[in-house]
């Protein structure tokens, strides 16, 4: 019996042990990620989220490269060299299906960015506006809505019929305007093209009214939206809608009446004297209105970078060997344009293969880490948007339109001067502006949208046939996953 008493102590100890659990460990929460409920707790976190919204559109699947690439290669300037199904072959030859990777992935990336913006706007309203303070809250809300408008605009360019087709009456996109996270409404029908455009303009106008005139550094001015960014984008949006008067109204806010053209308020945009500087580090020219920054630690990802597609590869004896030579430039296309002089500075972006004479675009040539900034909006485009709108709106060889065209041309080719007399008809002027766009903006993702907004046939290339505006291939199909999981979604015709 004595023995038993001695061991009562350990028994008690054992019982203590049993009850001495660390219950607080049951509430383990992550230390390397931020819980949603705490994401708006400090101004720094909110700014981090703003950067996150930009990072979401900068995805390699989207503005990090592929969106630009798809819009180039579905046009007629480029030839597919490697028949690689992973790098846009089916976009190039118009054989996309609802399950094709680019159709599915771009849809995902675009709507992920939209939802991120929506979650941000919701969070700001719930808590963030108070935490950030009025001035910053306005700024951030403006940026989120700018981003949402930009993404909807981009998705419309590929997944919906152009605005002219039925004046926006065709099926557009499902308009998601609030944040999604838990289980909820999968089913949402497509709004019309016009309704989506109206939303885009509402977002961009809000952005214009709330964004700051500029930021504290040049790099922020080119990588975050400020007031002129929203206005510049609106010129593109109205151009796509063929509402030329509105293009003029918007463009006039940021383009002076006469040369040298410059923005008079906000960031003082103007053309850079040497275009090649626009595509070089530090990428902070006043010509760059909005672009996607990359660093060696923040790359576009495998097979996403513009340089990967357009720049030649080492096996093609290029120096420097930064790309993979996926696409060469068709020699019978814009390269053959008689007016594009060999001395034009923009010809320096074209590289000729020493043995097979294929031409490659070397606008993006940083390597081996492909850190070229991706241009999204630059001032040259705004000038050409305005020039085209002036010509079309006045239906005349508008002198200011010619002057704007000259500004873009002469910056790279001082030996060519257009005058009003150069263009017997307004159509000649418009054609010249469209040619200028092809020369100036090659490799920046304008070819397909420029054809589509005007209802032009997508010309053939290599052994790929032309696509006329009535063909289903004129636009992309809808992602199969959306069709499967959103019961109200309808496929493209």
């Amino acid at each position: 019996m004595k023995l038993k008493k001695i061991y009562i102590l350990p028994v008690l100890m054992a019982l203590t042990i049993t009850s001495s659990c660390k219950r607080e460990l049951l509430d383990a929460s992550p230390t390397t990620q931020i819980i949603e409920s705490e994401a708006f707790d400090t101004p720094e976190r909110i700014l981090g989220q703003i950067n996150g919204l930009y990072a979401s559109i900068k995805s390699g699947q989207y503005l990090g490269g592929r969106y630009i690439v798809y819009n180039e290669i579905r046009g007629d300037e480029f030839l597919n060299e490697l028949t690689n199904g992973v790098t846009g072959l089916q976009t190039w030859n118009h054989t996309l299906g609802t399950n094709t990777a680019e159709v599915v992935n771009l849809w995902n990336a675009g709507y992920y960015a939209i939802n991120s913006a929506n979650l941000f706007l919701d969070g700001m309203q719930a808590k963030g506006n108070t935490v950030a303070g009025d001035a910053l809250a306005k700024n951030y809300n403006g940026e989120a809505r700018f981003i949402r408008g930009l993404v909807y605009f981009h998705l419309l360019q590929l997944y919906a019929r152009p605005y002219w087709d039925g004046n926006g009456a065709k099926e557009g996109l499902p308009l998601r305007l609030t944040g999604n996270k838990g289980p909820g409404a999968n089913d949402l029908k497509r709004s019309t093209v016009a309704e989506v455009y109206a939303q885009i303009l509402s977002d961009l106008t809000f952005a214009e009214q709330n964004l700051p005139l500029n930021y504290s550094t040049a790099i922020l001015n080119v990588t975050r939206a400020h007031r002129n960014t929203a206005i510049a984008l609106k010129t593109r949006v109205y151009l796509a809608m063929q509402q030329y008067a509105n293009v003029i109204t918007e463009a006039n806010k940021i383009v002076s009446a006469s040369a040298p053209f410059t923005a008079t308020t906000g960031v003082q945009h103007k053309l850079e004297a040497d275009i090649t500087n626009v595509f070089k580090s530090p990428y902070t020219t006043l010509e760059s209105i909005f672009s996607m920054p990359f660093t060696a630690n923040n790359l576009p990802g495998t097979q996403n970078a513009l340089a990967h597609y357009f720049a030649p590869s080492a096996t093609q004896f290029a120096v420097p060997a930064v790309g993979n030579g996926e696409y060469s430039i068709k020699t019978t296309g814009i390269l053959a344009d008689g007016g594009w002089k060999l001395t034009d500075k923009r010809r320096s972006f074209i590289w000729t293969h020493p043995t097979n004479s294929k031409r490659y675009l070397i606008k993006y040539q940083t390597g081996p880490a492909q850190t070229d900034n991706v241009p999204v909006i630059r001032y040259a485009e705004v000038l050409l948007n305005l020039a085209e709108a002036l010509a079309r709106n006045t239906n005349s060889v508008d002198a200011r339109a010619v002057e704007l065209l000259n500004a873009v041309r002469q910056r790279s080719d001082p030996t060519t001067t257009f005058t009003v007399a150069s263009f017997p008809t307004v159509q000649d002027l418009i054609s010249a502006i469209l040619i200028e766009r092809r020369i100036e903006l090659i490799g920046e993702g304008f070819r397909s949208p420029d054809l589509l907004r005007l209802g032009l046939t997508i010309p053939g290339k290599g052994n790929v046939n032309a696509i006329n505006p009535t063909q289903s291939e004129y636009i992309w199909p809808i992602s199969a996953q959306e069709l499967l999981n959103n019961k109200l979604m309808t496929p493209n015709p």
Binding site: P30, T31, Q33, P174, P183, A296, S479
Partner: protein
């Protein structure tokens, strides 16, 4: 009575002391079947004097007058103490300690006698799996226990086997059983972050394992609650036994070769076939042409020679064990160095273990075990681990696709390269292969190194006879180092070069406290009650560097000179499991048995409000043979027990530590920090629930000469976690939400038969046979979703559909090759026959109906569910023979009723530049040819299933394998005793020595997707399996 005995004893003592002189005891020791036992230790109790029996089992020992008893001991036998008071001759019978039905079975938090276990438990003895040429013990379990299915995925060293207990029990979570080593749940799976796979379990030295007990039903597993749905495997390591110190050396050396490699076209055949294809494709500006090698002869490269080898392996283990009555110890050290069949695929393990147990007094026992291990796994990119099946650097694939008419070297001895592909030499086609395998084997490397400490300390109190208190604290610390180098010269690192090193640290502590009450009431009611608590904390922490753009190819370490630094392998996790559990075992007269198990778990990774779960199991047994009415049968059927169990357990394995949260992750926007929404909340997630029902019987015939066990099982799983797809326009990261929605069941029967067929003095034959069947069916997925497909990297071959077994094959049906034109005939969704010709005149369609009219293209949208990859039966047949000093064993394993998707064959008939299987030589060439191989048209990747999977490549997976065979010879004790050696045995053994199958690939036992639940049975570009011959030696001192 006792007093009387003492008095008698005293009188006897007195009597003998009167004699006061030494006397001689003689005797004989036999085994329980009457055969003499040589070399049995005979010791005088309480002294170090003793002798051993001779070859006839006889002994003579002079004992002092004070000697009162002798102790007889022999390895593998129960220790026997015999009084010699008033005796001069002693006849002793020793019984084996491990005779099957008397054996002790390890169950959760305790042990039970085999005959009293009411749950379903299979046991494998450590001796059965020691000294096999494997990296980890789990790979050896196939065929050894009913209902346990082990699939070794391929010949890559240290690749975790697919481990299933009674079928696949989850869709999205782990289906791997819980592995518990000496009471501490172990990490499992592949922890490597590079190409070299690293099964965590390989850090446990198979030679240290005493027993493996596999808990299968709800009754046995319920005490492991939320982690029990996939079965629980209890590993018990060896402990010392009191008696003389015993030193054992086990060593073997072996040679492994690949078997069943595909027969490929040689250079001449390759050029014939491919040029014929070019002609048929109307391509005139390209040709496959021979190139002469340095010897002036046309190059004919057998790429297998550069990729496969005969690997040499060796293993050495030394253990020391022993102890006095109060203290026992076991110490071991092991070293193994193994070479795989794949070049540069190596595995080494250094491991040491110390186990100490000490009985301080009648009440207190304490002890512990600690092992340290270091394993290094090295491998080039094998393309044989999940996620790399189509890797152009995969060495399983490269020898299959690369043209045999080019060489890895140019004639000047340099690598034959064209950019980042192998050079074409005289061929005038653009491409004849992906990477040149030789430079990537020479220059690249991937190494995983694990350092692991596993151990526990325990303290046990027995303050009163009926009470046992036990506390155990265990740790499992694993540091996993990864190193990867990709040369800028060729392959995956081209042209920038990449060196990546990461370190992952996994830590776990586990504190278990139990109290057990044992008592027998009224000599009839045996009651045992266990209550306990357990806490388990697991943390993981990883980081690393991935540096690119090497400044000079000289640098091959991550510490060298590079331009771009990036992070790699960042991870940080933590979870905590807090549990209380209990068990009641009751029997009445060893006739009626009842067991109740229960456990409550609280788990940190589950969302608030859902962290707690209760699990239970109940089982009963009736030993009919103990009933009076049975007595007439007793001579034939000596035992017959009916058993049944039911209960509910859970599965949570593989759920991320923080899956419940809605999270923003850090990122970058250029040079600025950013937060991106990256995880939607799963705030109502719970365990998957498994309701297990078992019924069966166990029997013994002819005094247990034949024993057997039969059971029927049904496992109904509800609340299967499934990633419910969301409309992508919702923009939710991953486009899916985790929810408990699905249901499925596994059911089948298990039969085990053990027989001591012959048991003569000089010859014995023991046989053990087991077979299990399994039927799996998915009964529910998410609302509105009744099927989903699962990809095998770039290809999708499996579909999980309600009403069918999970992961069934999903392929396009075909109807042979049209003898008229050599076109493959496909069957589209509408059931129409559509023929395909890869190259057609301009303006025509490649797809035509049989009448020649244009048909819509056939593709993956025409796929149908076709055949199941899940074996309907599997098992093993183990035979062990002993003839005098020779022993022989054969383990056969088999499975069947399943199909395998032979994706490798699809690639091997692809008519791009890829090399082909020699079966393409029987291709269609002229009208009227009846053949399985369509007309060869260059570029054709459709006709043979490369573009989308077709039924032609779905083949029967039935096989019988001679998994293991050995012949051993033990030196006679007469020789050994002179050298002071207790035992010495030499043996030669073979693994995978023969296989009977109809499958056309190397081996139908394959899983290119590893442990994937819903994409099983896929064979895609994996390296072959190895056949190993070893010679070995076991010596005991």
């Amino acid at each position: 009575m006792r007093k009387l005995l003492a008095l008698l004893g005293g009188l006897l003592l007195f009597y003998s002391s009167l004699l006061a002189q030494n006397r001689t005891i003689t005797g004989k020791v036999t085994s329980d079947n009457g055969s003499p036992l040589p070399n049995v230790s005979v010791m005088i109790k309480g002294s170090s004097t003793g002798t051993t029996t001779d070859s006839d089992g006889n002994f003579t020992l002079t004992v002092p007058p004070s000697a009162r008893a002798l102790i007889f001991s022999s390895v593998g036998m129960d220790l026997v103490e015999v009084s010699i008071v008033n005796r001069t001759t002693v006849e002793v019978q020793l019984k084996p300690t491990d005779k099957d039905l008397q054996e002790v079975v390890v169950v959760g938090y305790g042990t039970q006698k085999r005959k009293e276990v009411t749950g379903a438990v299979s046991s494998v003895k450590g001796t059965q799996i020691a000294n096999l040429p494997v990296q980890s013990f789990d790979a050896t379990l196939g065929g050894r226990a009913a209902g346990v299915q082990i699939t070794v995925p391929n010949g890559l060293l240290n690749n975790p086997p697919v481990f299933r207990v009674r079928g696949t029990n989850s869709l999205s979570l782990s289906s791997y059983p819980l592995i518990v080593v000496d009471g501490v749940p172990s990490f499992t799976g592949d922890v490597s972050q590079v190409n070299a796979v690293a099964n965590v379990l390989s850090s446990i030295n198979p030679n240290d394992i005493e027993s493996i007990d596999i808990l299968k039903d709800a009754s046995a597993t319920a005490i492991y609650g939320s982690r029990a749905a996939n079965g629980v495997v209890l590993i018990t390591t060896k402990k010392g036994k009191s008696g003389n110190t015993r030193v054992v050396y086990d060593g073997w050396a072996g040679w492994t070769k690949p078997y069943g490699l595909w027969e490929l076209l040689n250079a001449e055949q390759y050029m014939t076939i491919k040029n014929e294809g070019l002609t048929n494709a109307n391509i005139t500006n390209q040709k496959f042409l021979p190139t002469n090698g340095p010897d002036g002869n046309p190059i004919d490269t057998r790429w297998y020679d550069y990729v496969y080898r005969t690997g040499f392996s060796q293993s050495h283990n030394v253990s020391m064990s022993g102890g006095s009555q109060g203290t026992t110890f076991y110490f071991s050290a092991g070293y193994t160095d193994q070479e795989g069949i794949l070049v540069k695929n190596d595995f080494t393990r250094k491991v040491a273990r110390v186990t100490l147990d000490h009985k301080a007094n009648k009440i207190l026992t304490l002890g512990g075990t600690m092992s340290y291990s270091n394993e290094v796994s090295k491998s080039p990119n094998s393309g044989s681990v999940p996620g790399s099946l189509f890797s152009t650097a995969g060495l399983g694939r490269i020898p299959l696709v690369t043209a045999p008419n080019v060489s890895p070297y140019k004639n000047d001895g340099t690598y034959n390269l064209l950019g980042n592909a192998i050079g074409v030499m005289n061929n005038t086609t653009g491409q004849v292969g992906f990477y040149n395998p030789v430079p990537i084997i020479d220059l690249n490397r991937a190494i995983n190194e694990n350092n692991r400490i596993l151990g526990n300390l325990y303290l046990m109190l027995k303050p009163v006879k009926w009470l046992t208190l036990r506390t155990q604290y265990g740790i499992d610390n694993l540091n996993s180092d990864n190193e990867l180098y990709w040369s800028p010269i060729h392959g995956d690192g081209f042209p920038r070069g990449n060196a990546t090193s990461t370190l992952a640290k996994y830590k776990r502590w586990n504190w278990t406290n139990t109290a057990q009450f044992d008592n027998v009431f009224a000599d009839k009611h045996t009651l045992s009650v266990l209550i306990g608590s357990e806490q388990q904390r697991t943390t993981s922490d990883g980081f690393g560097l991935s540096r690119q753009d090497v400044t000079d190819p000289f640098f091959t370490d991550v510490q060298g000179s590079y331009v771009t630094p990036n992070t790699a392998g960042l991870m940080r996790g933590a979870n905590y499991l807090l549990s209380a559990f209990g068990r009641i075992n009751y029997d009445y007269e060893k006739k009626y048995f009842l067991t109740l198990n229960g456990r409550q778990d609280e788990y940190s990774a589950l969302p608030e409000g859902f962290k707690k779960g209760e699990f239970w199991g109940v089982s009963g047994a009736w030993d009919i043979a103990r009933e009076k009415f049975w007595s007439k049968l007793e001579n034939v059927v000596n035992s017959f027990r009916l058993k049944a169990s039911y209960g509910t357990v859970g599965n949570i394995g593989g759920l991320g530590d923080f899956s419940a949260f809605s999270l923003y992750a850090g990122g970058l926007y250029g040079d600025r920090g950013a937060f991106l929404y990256n995880q939607p909340p799963s705030d109502s997630l719970q365990w998957e629930t498994s309701k297990k029902f078992d019924i069966g019987f166990a029997f013994g015939l002819f005094n247990d000469r034949i024993t057997g066990e039969f059971s029927y099982y049904k496992n109904d799983i509800d609340g299967l976690i499934y990633r419910i797809p969301q409309a992508p326009s919702r923009g939710i990261p991953g486009n899916a939400l985790l929810q408990n929605v699905g249901s499925m069941f596994n059911k089948g029967i298990e039969l085990t038969l053990n027989a001591s067929v012959i048991n003569k003095r000089d010859f014995s034959w023991n046989a053990s046979f087991n077979i299990a069947t399994n039927k799996n069916e998915v009964t529910k997925l998410a609302p509105g979703i009744d099927e989903f497909t699962t990809a095998s990297d770039l290809e999708t071959v499996n579909i999980t559909r309600v009403g069918e077994p999970l992961g069934s094959f999903f392929v396009v049906r075909t109807a042979g090759v049209n003898p008229a034109n050599g076109n493959r005939i496909f069957i589209n969704k509408a059931g129409q026959q559509v023929q395909y010709q890869h190259v057609v005149p301009a303006g025509q369609s490649r797809w035509k109906f049989m009448d020649g009219s244009t048909a819509p293209a056939v593709g993956s949208q025409d796929a149908v569910l076709y055949k199941s990859p899940i074996p309907t039966y599997f098992g093993g047949f183990d035979n062990n023979f002993k003839f005098k000093n020779f022993d022989l064993g054969v383990l056969l394993t088999f499975q069947g009723g399943n199909y395998v998707y032979n994706g490798t064959q699809a690639g091997l008939r692809d008519q791009r530049f890829w090399n082909n299987h020699t079966d393409v030589l029987s291709r269609w060439t002229k009208a009227g040819d009846v053949t399985e191989i369509p007309r060869i048209i260059f570029g054709d990747n459709v006709s043979n299933g490369s573009a989308f999977p077709i039924d032609v490549n779905v083949e029967k997976g039935d096989f019988i394998k001679v998994r293991n065979i050995y012949v051993g010879y033990s030196l006679p004790r007469s020789i050994l005793s002179k050298a002071n050696i207790t035992s010495a045995r030499f043996y030669i053994s073979g693994q995978n020595v023969a296989i009977i199958r109809s499958y056309s690939g190397p081996d139908p036992e394959v899983s290119s997707n590893g442990n994937g639940n819903t994409n099983p049975g896929v064979d895609r570009n994996s390296i072959a399996n190895g056949r190993t011959i070893t010679v070995g030696l076991n010596v005991g001192f």
